[in-house]
Structures are given as structure tokens and as C-alpha cells.
């Protein structure tokens, strides 16, 4: 019995060590003396992010590195697999303290907790780019710029698309969020305002939290559908939303007009299969790649506007192909390709 137990322990540890081949090296190895890049900037640029394993985050990392490669910048990923705010802040602080750092992109979630880090970066002459989570101008020191879709505007387009699809119908529309946070709250608020403008006969319900775990999220969506028999549509402000609402429709056996977020493979396939109406293409690729460009410009002393506003289109069935193409390009770098048998 004892042998079996020890054998199991060793096997599990081996399994952990050998679960998959090491991913393709994407980080640039540190060099003793920073070499001037082809772009003429000496120093390093970092992409700082927590929950690094997340597929959406991986996409942003690769997009940033692609932008760096195009410009000939010396870039590195400074990421952690932890999801905590503390881990992110510690990492960001370390990166702006490096003597050879020229610029950092902080995937900060729109939190004011990074204010002192941005100030420290300014004191050290480091440019800061804040992708994805827009914050009002003046929140941070003048060395910080942001690149993101406007969360007060693109929800209006979502509402327009939803109203066009629900034309002539009456009933209610649900809103679910991964967790109540600044960005998702803003999207929910903008969507509600848009719905009131374009289809005032439809009632938008107060946002509910669906969370990241699919079984719990689907259960919550099912409860919403049961509570509101007149439910005709739903917006989820998170990437798991299409699965959540497709699952809930399958459970209840009723079709509604559901819209979710992000162009992941599963989400695009759910749109293609007609299980959800659309997914919103948050500009993950463009904002991450764009951060490299903004940092490059600032490091060269150029003045750039505080906010580079990007579009977040509603991706319906007829607009899927460019996103499939983008995913094919990016996921090839994310997942290690199995070695073919000799």
C-alpha cells in the first residue's frame, strides 16, 4: 500500500513537471549592456500583466511583442500567473525601478492604485501606456497615455445592434458582468442608456454578477431567464458571456438575442452556430500592439494625445472571418504545436 502511495506521489509530481512542452520562448533575454535598437531608442520596454496564462492576456502579450518587433524595440514580458492586485503592483513597481527601462505598458484594470507607480516612472523618465481600461485624463501623471475603446460610446453601438435585431418586440433584456468593476459597470451603464434611446419599450434589467466559473454563470443566467419570462435579450460584458448565455438558452429551451464579449475561438463558433447573436470585438490586438507604438513615440520625445480611442465593433455571423484569421495567426504562437511522429 505504502509503495503504491509513494509511486502515486512521484507520478503526480512528474506529471506536473512534464505536462506539456515548454512554450515557445517569447521573452527577450536580458543583456548586460542595453544595445541600441533599430528604432534608435536605447533601453527596454515592458508589458506588465497579471493572470498571464489567460488566453485573452496571452493574445495581448503577443500583440505587444509583435508591435515591438515591427518597430525594432527591445521588449520583454513582465508577467505573473497570479491574479492578485498586490502581485501586479509589486511587478509594476519593480519594472519602473529598473535603470534601463524606457517604457512600460501596464494592464492595470483601471485602478487608481497605480498612481504612485506612474509618478515613480515619471521621476525615472519612463513612459507609461495604459491599454484597455480607460480612466479620465488627470488621474495619472503626464507621462501616462491610454489606448482603449471608449466604454461610454461602444456600448451605444451594442444597444443599436440589439435594438435592430429585436425590432418591434417588447420585453426585458438582461445584463451580466464577470465582476462589478469600473470597465464592466461603464459598459453596462452605456448599454442601458443606449437601449433607452433606441428601443424605449424594452426594459433593461439591473446588472447581475455571473463570475468566471461556467456552471455557476450558466445557473445565474438560467435564474434570470426564469425570473423574467419576457426576457428577449442579454448582454454579457465578459469573455465567458457567450458560453454563459448559450448554456442558459440550452437549459431553458428558449432562444434570445444574446451578445457577449471578445473574439475567442469558442465565442466566434457560438456566433457562427447561431447560439448567440454576436460578440463584441474589444480591440485587444490593436490596443496592445498600439501600446508599443505609443511607448516608442514617447521615448523619442514625441507628444501623443492622452487617449487613443479605438473601435469595438459588434461581430455578427457575417463579420467573423477577419477574427478567425487573427486568431489563427495568434493561437499558433500561444499553444505549442505537438511534434509530429517521425
Amino acid at each position: 500500500m505504502q509503495k503504491v502511495v509513494w509511486f502515486s506521489v512521484i507520478l503526480v509530481l512528474l506529471l506536473a513537471a512534464c505536462a506539456a512542452p515548454a512554450p515557445a520562448p517569447v521573452k527577450v533575454l536580458p543583456t548586460a549592456v542595453p544595445a541600441p535598437t533599430t528604432a534608435g531608442v536605447t533601453g527596454k520596454f515592458y508589458w506588465v500583466q497579471n493572470t498571464a496564462w489567460h488566453p485573452v492576456h496571452q493574445l495581448t502579450q503577443l500583440s505587444f511583442l509583435e508591435g515591438c518587433a515591427d518597430l525594432g524595440l527591445d521588449c520583454q514580458l513582465a508577467t505573473t500567473d497570479e491574479g492578485s492586485l498586490e502581485a501586479f503592483l509589486a511587478l509594476a513597481d519593480q519594472m519602473v525601478s529598473q535603470p534601463d527601462t524606457k517604457g512600460v505598458a501596464l494592464w492595470a484594470g483601471g485602478i487608481p492604485a497605480i498612481v504612485p507607480i506612474v509618478e515613480k516612472a515619471k521621476a525615472n523618465g519612463i513612459a507609461v501606456c495604459l491599454p484597455h481600461f480607460p480612466m479620465p485624463e488627470g488621474t495619472f501623471a503626464s507621462n501616462a497615455v491610454q489606448i482603449a475603446a471608449d466604454t461610454t460610446k461602444y456600448p451605444d453601438a451594442i444597444a443599436q445592434a440589439m435594438c435592430a435585431k429585436l425590432k418591434g418586440q417588447k420585453g426585458s433584456v438582461a445584463v451580466t458582468e464577470n465582476g462589478f468593476n469600473v470597465t464592466e459597470d461603464a459598459v453596462a451603464k452605456g448599454f442601458t442608456a443606449g437601449m433607452a434611446k433606441y428601443c424605449p419599450d424594452i426594459v433593461v434589467l439591473p446588472p447581475e454578477e455571473e463570475g468566471p466559473e461556467p456552471t455557476k454563470a450558466i445557473a445565474k443566467a438560467v435564474s434570470i431567464m426564469q425570473t423574467h419570462p419576457d426576457l428577449i435579450g442579454a448582454l454579457s460584458t465578459t469573455g465567458g458571456g457567450p458560453t454563459t448565455w448559450a448554456g442558459a438558452q440550452k437549459e431553458v429551451g428558449k432562444q434570445i438575442v444574446a451578445i457577449g464579449m471578445d473574439y475567442t475561438q469558442v465565442n466566434l463558433d457560438l456566433v457562427k452556430a447561431g447560439q448567440v447573436y454576436a460578440t463584441v470585438g474589444q480591440p485587444l490586438y490593436d490596443e496592445s500592439k498600439g501600446c508599443a507604438d505609443l511607448l516608442y513615440q514617447m521615448a523619442n520625445g514625441k507628444k501623443v494625445p492622452y487617449w487613443t480611442v479605438l473601435d469595438a465593433p459588434v461581430i455578427t455571423k457575417d463579420k467573423l472571418q477577419p477574427y478567425y484569421d487573427l486568431l489563427t495567426k495568434m493561437t499558433a504562437k500561444m499553444r505549442p504545436t505537438p511534434t509530429p511522429a517521425p
Binding site: 500500500m1 505504502q2 503504491v4 502511495v5 509513494w6 502515486s8 506521489v9 507520478l11 503526480v12 509530481l13 506529471l15 506536473a16 505536462a19 506539456a20 512554450p23 496564462w53 489567460h54 488566453p55 492576456h57 496571452q58 500567473d81 462589478f180 439591473p206 446588472p207 447581475e208 454578477e209 468566471p212 466559473e213 461556467p214 456552471t215 455557476k216 450558466i218 445557473a219 445565474k220 438560467v222 435564474s223 434570470i224 426564469q226 425570473t227 419570462p229 465567458g240 458560453t243 448559450a246 448554456g247 440550452k250 437549459e251 431553458v252 475561438q265 469558442v266 463558433d269 457560438l270 452556430a273 447560439q275 493561437t331 500561444m334 499553444r335 505549442p336 505537438p338
Partner: protein, 331 residues
């Protein structure tokens, strides 16, 4: 009760009807009915068979794992790695199907083998090395979750053969395969706990391990079985979860934080945190109660911000009751 077994946590003898009324399962069932009544008063339209069936289908997966957790907690141990094992089996099975090309059935069996190994490892480290099961299974949670991410690089393994979703689409009597499996296993577990020598030995192990050993119970073997069963049930839940997804995939996010929900349900169901007390029916009702609260708060249109604290309040109430029962028993 098995002759010679010891169960210090059993309540003092009281007469028949009083004992039935005071049974945690009966109190829980009463509370459940009151709750459903309250939800009905707030929103009568939403309280119907469709809602009930949906709640029963949703509670099936945590309920399956909860049955293993009952055995483990009655034996005086705990397992925090179940949520990660749910993810591991789904990811491992998906990986074997997609990357290695194994048939669906064989992939499921191998994935369950992985779950079994995790259970054996938990048992080995807890019982042979002597580390507290809370710490062992917490560490195992990180390791196993990390393995899942490593297999997938964080990206769900997808698409999978259509037959993977077959079980998930079946709706026997309007419910799900997972739910009927849960019902069958709850009955079997309850019978094993109350009508067999092994069940009596389990209560004795959790009640007083030394006394149980003196009485001839192989406590380590009993606990090892519980660890393995818990992991296996988590593995089964992972495979069923994968099957139920709108587009079946092996997603490393499956089961995230689910272990805490399961433990909450089991404790609410009257299973003692101190070991030696609990029942499969209680755990079933506890998990059901938690799901009714989760869904009920939405149905009854309570403020979304108050839904999570409400679960915390119920857990706190259940733990306070458990502590009070334990103190009464010791006195």
C-alpha cells in the same frame, strides 16, 4: 451500528419522534421549504417546474463531489483540491482526444486515472507523511490547477468529438444524467454509511481515531478510500461538466472555487467540521439549499451585491450550529 464501534459525536438518546424532528436533515428540509415559500411570495411566476429542474440540474455536479466530501469529512479530513481535479480530468480527457487521438471512452478512463492518482497522493501525504489534509490538498489544488493550465497553455482544448456532448444533452425525466447519477449515489452512500461495517468504521474514525483503531478499524485504509473516492467523484463531475457545455471543451477554468461551494454545502448539510457526524442525504440537501439560495436571490430580485454575503451568513449559521452541537456532545 456495528458492534464495538465508537462514535463519540453521536447525540444523546432521545425518544423516536423528537429524534426525527431534531435531525439536521429534517431541519434543513424544513428550512428549504420555508425558503422556497419565501421566494414564491416574492415572485410567484418564477417558481415552477422549469426553475426547479434547472436548480436540480445545476446542483448535480457539486452534489456529486459533495458525496465524496461527506465521507472524507466524516472521517475527519478535508479536500480542497476537488475544483482543480474537475478541471484536470476535463482538460486531460480533451487533450488525449484531440492531441493523442484516443477514443472518447478511453480518454475518460485515463482522465479518471489521473483523478485517482491525485486522491492517492493526497492520502499518502496526509496519512503517511503526517501533513494536515487542509495543507496537503491546498497545495495539491495549486499543483493540479497548474498542470491543467500547462496542458492547455490557458486556452480551452477545443473542438472535441461531437459524442463528448452526448451525455450532456440527455434529459431523462426533464433532468440530467448528472442529477440521476447523484440521486443513485446519494442513496448508495447513505446505505453504506448507515447499514455497513465500513460506514460504522468511518464514523468511528472521525469520532475518535485512537478508539477506532483499538476497535480494529483500519483507519488509514478507510481514509485513503475516502480521499480516492472524493477525487474520483470530482473527476466524474469534470467529465460531465465538459459534456454539458454548449460547445464541449477542456477548459482549465472549470471548477474554479467550486471546492469552497461544495464544502459550504456539505457543512450546511450537517456534516461536522470536527468529523464523526454527517449523512449523504444531509449533504444532498445542503448543496441543494445553497443552489436554491443562489438562484432564489436572483428569482426573488434581491440586490445582486447582497447575494454573496447571504451565502456567507448561511454558512456562518451552519458552522455555529455545528460548534454548538459539538460542545453539547463533549459536555
Amino acid at each position: 451500528m456495528w458492534p464495538g464501534s465508537v462514535n463519540v459525536a453521536r447525540p444523546l438518546p432521545v425518544n423516536g419522534p423528537t429524534r426525527i424532528i431534531r435531525a439536521p436533515e429534517v431541519i434543513l428540509a424544513g428550512f428549504l421549504l420555508l425558503l422556497i415559500g419565501g421566494i414564491y411570495l416574492r415572485n410567484p411566476v418564477a417558481v415552477n417546474w422549469l426553475t426547479g429542474a434547472s436548480i436540480l440540474r445545476t446542483m448535480a455536479l457539486p452534489g456529486l463531489v459533495a458525496l465524496g466530501m461527506v465521507l472524507l469529512m466524516v472521517a475527519g479530513e478535508i479536500d480542497l483540491s476537488t475544483g482543480a481535479v474537475i478541471s484536470l480530468t476535463a482538460v486531460l480527457a480533451a487533450w488525449l482526444m484531440k492531441e493523442i487521438g484516443l477514443p472518447v471512452g478511453l480518454s475518460f478512463v485515463v482522465a479518471l486515472g489521473g483523478a485517482l492518482l491525485v486522491g492517492l497522493t493526497n492520502a499518502g501525504l496526509t496519512l503517511r507523511v503526517g501533513i494536515n489534509s487542509l495543507l496537503v490538498t491546498l497545495a495539491m489544488q495549486f499543483i493540479v490547477r497548474g498542470v491543467s493550465y500547462s496542458f492547455t497553455q490557458g486556452v480551452p482544448i477545443y473542438p472535441l468529438p461531437a459524442s463528448v456532448g452526448f451525455l450532456g444533452t440527455l434529459r431523462p425525466a426533464g433532468l440530467s444524467v448528472a442529477f440521476w447519477t447523484l440521486v443513485a449515489l446519494t442513496i448508495i452512500t447513505q446505505v453504506v454509511l448507515t447499514q455497513t461495517r465500513w460506514g460504522a468504521g468511518l464514523y468511528a474514525t472521525g469520532g475518535n481515531v485512537l478508539a477506532a483503531q483499538i476497535c480494529g478499524v483500519h483507519t488509514d485504509r478507510t481514509k485513503t478510500t475516502c480521499f480516492v473516492l472524493t477525487s474520483l467523484l470530482a473527476g466524474v463531475a469534470g467529465l460531465l461538466l465538459m459534456s454539458q457545455m454548449p460547445l464541449p471543451s477542456g477548459d482549465p477554468i472549470f471548477g474554479r472555487n467550486l471546492e469552497l461551494d461544495i464544502i459550504v454545502g456539505v457543512v450546511v448539510g450537517g456534516v461536522s467540521l470536527f468529523g464523526g457526524r454527517g449523512s449523504a442525504i444531509g449533504a444532498f440537501l445542503g448543496v441543494l439549499l445553497m443552489q436554491v439560495i443562489r438562484s432564489g436571490l436572483v428569482i426573488a430580485r434581491f440586490d445582486p451585491y447582497w447575494q454573496v454575503p447571504a451565502l456567507g451568513i448561511v454558512l456562518l449559521g451552519a458552522v455555529l450550529l455545528d460548534v454548538r452541537r459539538q460542545q453539547r456532545t463533549l459536555n
